[in-house]
């Protein structure tokens, strides 16, 4: 305490005053309501999202009058009819769903060996190196990563320049579907590995040793012991990757170059190109529903996986 001559330090006085204020504002008798008071700010903050959903629902029921560029006063389901019937949206939706499925499959195939090695290696330096290789791109953000891919794969990018040195004419490596899929896999890999690792950590080393001593080789041990036990991790990782790649915006926009729009890009265009807020809100709500539906189906079929553990206790 700063002034040793003072028998009752200033800091204590301040704290006592604060506690007195706290007791006056929130008396002991209300102690049972304390946790709800602590939850209140978070509930209000997330409430902004609920408010946003409500506003989108309102907008989605109003149609744009293309002669006056005003929105109708009365509600109708016309936007939903357009969203379902226009072939463009079906193409975009199908493209996004297919991408989500492929990306999830490929990402899980690569995430499992990565997570397994990271959990099982006895070298703490290797473990740290793998963690850093995972977190560095995770923390760099989508735009910079996509920019890196443009430098590598672009029409005048490194790969094409290198090919040119050996006399191969430049190839179109970006602005196509495989490029978007590739970019998404790279974006999703850290998420998938981080969802898988808790499940793999939970599998005791001894189980694999036991399988080995009973005569199973490592392939059989993987197939019959590790993979089944890692199922919660696969479900958690799968759900995260499916929903994030289904709804991604930046990767299709940058590596697809406008020719490979996903649902999110179509929504953006409705708001900022055609200025049809109603149709845009309709598509956004339908995407929210589609995402929840996919998650619901996965949970119904396989359970909640590591995400259930994520829902604490």
């Amino acid at each position: 305490m700063t002034r040793s001559s003072n028998p009752y330090p200033l800091r204590w006085r301040v704290l006592d005053a604060l506690d007195a204020v706290a007791a006056a504002v929130w008396p002991r008798s209300m102690a049972s309501a304390t946790p709800y008071l602590m939850l209140l700010p978070a509930v209000l903050l997330v409430g902004l999202l609920v408010l946003g959903l409500w506003q989108m629902a309102d907008s989605s029921l109003r149609t744009l009058d293309t002669t006056t560029f005003l929105f109708s006063e009365d509600y109708s389901l016309a936007n939903y009819r357009r969203a379902v019937t226009e072939p463009l949206f079906a193409v975009v939706a199908w493209r996004s769903l297919l991408a989500a499925a492929i990306v999830t499959l490929v990402t899980l195939v690569f995430a499992f060996p990565y997570a397994y090695l990271m959990v099982r290696t006895r070298s703490s330096r290797l473990r740290k190196a793998l963690l850093i290789a995972l977190f560095l791109p995770f923390f760099i953000g989508q735009v910079v990563r996509a920019y890196g891919w443009l430098i590598i794969l672009g029409n005048q990018g490194m790969v094409n320049e290198a090919l040119g040195l050996v006399g191969i004419p430049p190839m179109r490596l970006i602005y196509n579907y495989p490029a978007v899929l590739f970019g998404l896999v790279q974006y999703m890999l850290p998420f998938a590995v981080l969802m898988l690792t808790p499940a793999l950590t939970a599998i005791p080393d001894e189980l694999e040793a036991a399988a080995g001593s009973l005569g199973a080789n490592w392939v059989r041990t993987f197939l019959h012991v590790v993979l089944p036990l890692a199922r919660p991790g696969f479900i958690g990782a799968g759900v995260v990757v499916v929903t994030l790649s289904l709804t991604d915006f930046a990767v299709p926009a940058i590596l697809g170059g406008g020719s490979q729009d996903f649902i999110a890009n179509a929504i953006y265009d409705q708001f900022f190109r055609t200025s049809d807020q109603g149709l845009g809100a309709t598509l956004a709500l339908m995407l929210v529903a589609l995402g929840s539906l996919v998650v619901g189906i996965v949970f119904a079929l396989f359970g909640a996986g590591t995400l259930a553990v994520g829902a604490r206790r």
């Binding site: 304390t34 946790p35 602590m38 939850l39 509930v43 903050l45 997330v46 999202l49 408010l51 959903l53 506003q55 690569f110 060996p113 990565y114 990271m118 740290k128 793998l130 963690l131 977190f135 560095l136 791109p137 923390f139 760099i140 953000g141 989508q142 735009v143 910079v144 990563r145 996509a146 920019y147 890196g148 891919w149 430098i151 590598i152 672009g154 005048q156 990018g157 320049e161 290198a162 896999v185 890999l189 981080l194 690792t197 950590t201 040793a209 490592w218 929903t243 709804t247 915006f249 929504i267 953006y268 809100a281 956004a284 995407l287 929210v288 995402g291 998650v295 553990v309 604490r312 206790r313």
Partner: protein
């Protein structure tokens, strides 16, 4: 027990491809920022710091970066108290309808980013708050809040409730027990969470794209707008800022709480 060779080859094939794929953009952006040429070319045209000199002169990039820092700061400052209190409430108390609260507080993750972004754009637009920076920070806090809550609850699970009772028994009033016993105990979670919130807000692209206009673009949006035209190395130099921030965040995370925290089985 050493793993059989075939197993090691199998694992390492996949891991090597993954590492190369994960690191390639970072390495290339770093390399491109030091090029002496005017275009990004292979093989590189020599080393130079000219692009760093150029971006240090570019007021628009510097301002975009400062705006991004401000957004990340607002996001972190909002998230720390909100997320810490909510995380502690869920971890420490028997909350009625706890499951419902959890589902509700996970909404930022279950609603796709484009949906959240559009919704917040409509809400802020109605309130006349668009065109300012702090709502962008609030928005970043909303969409990433589950990370903060998760980090705090994870470290609160290791908090012994007897400690708080002991503090009370020694005469500490509730607020002091909270400040000197509870908070220090969950500090690793708060640190992890706030680092995550800061770095995610620094990188946040889609929500910034929706909530900012041409006057107040953040750096990721600025880079996005530029790479749609011609790719020049000055963008690589400014992107290195993000790589540096990412490296710094990892270093801090490792020093303060240890990266291995993410490997724990819960």
């Amino acid at each position: 027990m050493t793993a059989p060779l075939s197993k090691r080859i199998f694992l390492w094939t996949f891991v090597a491809i993954a590492i190369v794929t994960l690191s390639a953009p970072t390495v290339v952006v770093l390399g491109a920022s030091f090029t002496a040429g005017n275009m990004i070319a292979f093989p590189p045209q020599g080393l130079s710091l000219q692009w760093y000199a150029k971006i240090s002169q570019a007021a628009d990039l510097r301002n975009a970066f400062l705006r991004t820092l401000w957004v990340a700061l607002v996001c972190t400052l909002v998230s720390i108290p909100v997320g810490t209190l909510a995380g502690l409430a869920l971890a420490k108390y028997r909350v009625r309808f706890a499951a419902a609260f959890q589902v509700y507080l996970l909404l930022p993750f279950t609603i796709p980013l484009i949906g959240s972004g559009i919704g917040l754009m409509l809400v802020f637009g109605d309130a006349g708050m668009l065109g300012q920076l702090w709502p962008v920070g609030i928005a970043c806090s909303v969409i990433n809040l589950p990370f903060m809550i998760w980090a705090v609850t994870a470290s609160a699970a290791g908090l012994d409730p007897d400690l708080e009772l002991a503090a009370a028994n020694c005469g500490a009033p509730p607020l002091q027990a909270f400040l000197f016993v509870t908070l220090p105990a969950v500090a690793p979670g708060v640190i992890t969470g706030s680092l995550l919130m800061f770095i995610l807000a620094l990188n946040e692209f889609l929500v910034s794209l929706l909530l900012t206009d041409a006057r107040i673009v953040t750096l990721p949006v600025q880079i996005y707008n530029s790479i749609r035209s011609i790719i020049t190395p000055d963008l690589a130099a400014i992107s290195v800022v993000f790589i540096a921030c990412s490296g710094l965040a990892i270093l801090l995370l490792d020093r303060l709480v240890g990266l291995e925290i993410f490997l724990k089985s819960k």
